[in-house]
């Protein structure tokens, strides 16, 4: 199984084999990536990996895209109108023919928490280029996900999160993303810039939770101890990053080790010899989590 996750100009690639004791990694590598059109992207990847290995293993592939390669949006709806009817309205009045013609559109209702639908568009041409490259090199694309959503799969595989948890991605250029799960249901997606203050770029999900989440993050990045009052709202914060400077992450993880967990896929999946010692340069591999969907680890 070949697993690739894209974070900006870097592809984190892992090749693993199923074994009785769980997935057994045979090689992993970070590879530079420039062509965002994904035209024959596998050519570059396979040239840089040890091909003696992947030519003998099964040719399944999973890919996680940087969220900049898709568009994420949402709309609210009235529960008295059927959701299919509302999607028809949204497509004909709001999206229009250009988007319908050129993008594959996915709708994820956030029920039962809110009457809002998360909408994800992916350019059909990008998807076509990905599939074409897979076909050319004899790979079967099994799963195609998006960065933090794929990291959530890693989290569920290795950390077994509680009912209410926050997944926090520290990205490049001070851009951060958050997923919040309430009673194990996906509830909020927030993108924000973290300069002196938090500048929300996009917020999907109930406003009440958004305010609460931003207030928690503001509190943490001021390096204060977490307020015990917040424990009713969430049980745990899981954090990882895809950028190279680890200062912020290290400071955050020192605030309260019980409530903040750095997602350490390095010692759990990639190299078990690391023995729970966090290898910060492997944190971007958390976004290869969609490769582990449905696998018993």
């Amino acid at each position: 199984m070949l697993s690739i996750s894209q974070a900006s100009n870097c592809l984190s690639c892992v090749e693993w084999l199923p074994s009785e004791s769980g997935p057994s990694v045979v090689q992993y590598k970070k590879i530079g990536f420039q062509d965002k059109s994904f035209i024959d992207f596998l050519e570059n990847v396979l040239n840089k990996l040890d091909n003696k290995i992947h030519e003998s293993t099964n040719k399944n592939l999973t890919l996680s895209l940087d969220s900049n390669n898709v568009s994420i949006s949402s709309f609210k709806y009235d529960k008295s109108i059927s959701i299919k009817e509302k999607i028809d309205w949204y497509e004909s009045i709001f999206l229009g023919p250009y988007v319908l013609k050129n993008y594959d559109i996915y709708y994820y209702p956030l029920e039962p928490i809110s009457s809002e639908v998360l909408v994800i568009y992916i350019d059909k041409q990008i998807k076509k280029n990905i599939l074409k490259s897979c076909e050319k090199h004899g790979f079967r694309l099994k799963h195609l996900s998006i960065d933090i959503f794929s990291a959530n799969s890693s989290l569920n595989m290795y950390n077994v999160p509680n009912d209410n948890y926050i997944l926090w991605k520290i990205g490049k250029n001070k851009k951060h993303s958050i997923l919040f799960f309430k009673d194990k249901n996906f509830s909020n997606y927030i993108d924000f810039n973290l300069f002196k203050n938090i500048e929300i770029l996009q917020s999907i999900g109930t406003e009440e939770y958004t305010e609460e989440l931003i207030s928690i993050i503001e509190h943490i990045v001021s390096y204060q101890k977490i307020k015990s009052l917040d424990y009713d709202f969430y049980n745990q914060i899981y954090v990882y990053q895809t950028k190279n400077n680890y200062d912020l992450l290290k400071k955050i993880s020192m605030i309260n080790s019980n409530k903040i967990t750095v997602m350490d896929i390095g010692s759990k999946f990639l190299n078990k010899n690391l023995k729970n010692k966090i290898s910060y340069n492997l944190l971007s591999f958390n976004e290869n989590g969609n490769s582990l969907e449905g696998i018993d680890v």
Binding site: N69, V70, I83, Y98, Y107, P109, P112, I113, I120
Partner: protein, 235 residues
């Protein structure tokens, strides 16, 4: 745990766990309903008759309304849209260097104009100016640094029996529009730069023949973009 997989078929997806429960509940409800339906089968035959009558009445009403709405577009709006088209084409012409025109298409029910703007300022200016002319018939999309404008106007093709492609060809020859034209398989093919093509459309509006032909305008793809040569197919 939810699964976000963009290899699945697009459209409505299952996401949260409780929805599965809801769906199971719904399945159970369907099951219960079916059992009850079997029990009540005999008493329902008269209801079915009224449902069929009701359905026929609804279908007839929808057909009548749809015919009337087409008629309303036809009689009231066509002249307004001709005028709007002229103004929109002027804007496209004036901003040629700031946009990449994908398509102008005058078809049976709809007139479509699609183009990309080179920068956000042009995008918002044109969105503003065009919406002044045609209100919500223009839509703008900012997707991954592409600034796209789509125009959709209701349109009608009503062929005048006494004016066919050959007559149009002769008329254009007389007018000396300054572009290459020829008839191929009952279609008039014109190749020229955008300004001359926009001029051609405006002439058709002026001589009241714009609704007489299907017209498709596209950039000639085999040439470099910088040449900005367009092909028109009139039929």
């Amino acid at each position: 745990m939810f699964d976000l997989n963009l290899i699945n078929n697009p459209g409505l997806q299952k996401f949260n766990k409780n929805e599965d429960k809801l769906e199971n509940n719904n399945k159970n409800k369907v099951k219960d309903y079916k059992e009850k339906e079997l029990e009540n089968k005999n008493s329902n035959s008269s209801k079915k008759f009224f449902i069929i009558i009701f359905f026929v009445v609804i279908v007839l009403s929808v057909l009548t309304l749809s015919y009337r709405s087409n008629f309303i577009i036809d009689s009231n709006n066509i002249n307004t849209y001709n005028l709007s088209l002229s103004k929109v084409l002027n804007l496209v012409d004036q901003n040629q260097k700031k946009i990449n025109l994908n398509l102008i298409d005058l078809h049976k029910n709809e007139l479509s104009i699609d183009f990309k703007c080179n920068d956000l300022e042009t995008f918002y200016n044109l969105l503003d100016l065009i919406s002044l002319e045609i209100n919500d018939k223009v839509k703008g999309y900012n997707i991954q640094n592409s600034h796209i404008l789509n125009i959709r106007i209701p349109w009608k093709i009503k062929k005048k029996s006494n004016f066919n492609i050959d007559f149009l060809n002769e008329e254009l020859n007389d007018l000396k529009m300054g572009f290459k034209q020829e008839i191929y398989k009952d279609k008039l093919i014109i190749v020229s730069d955008l300004s001359k093509i926009i001029n051609f459309i405006k002439v058709l509006i002026d001589i009241n023949l714009i609704h007489n032909f299907k017209i498709e305008i596209k950039q000639v793809e085999s040439l470099p973009n910088s040449l900005n040569i367009f092909q028109v197919i009139v039929e």
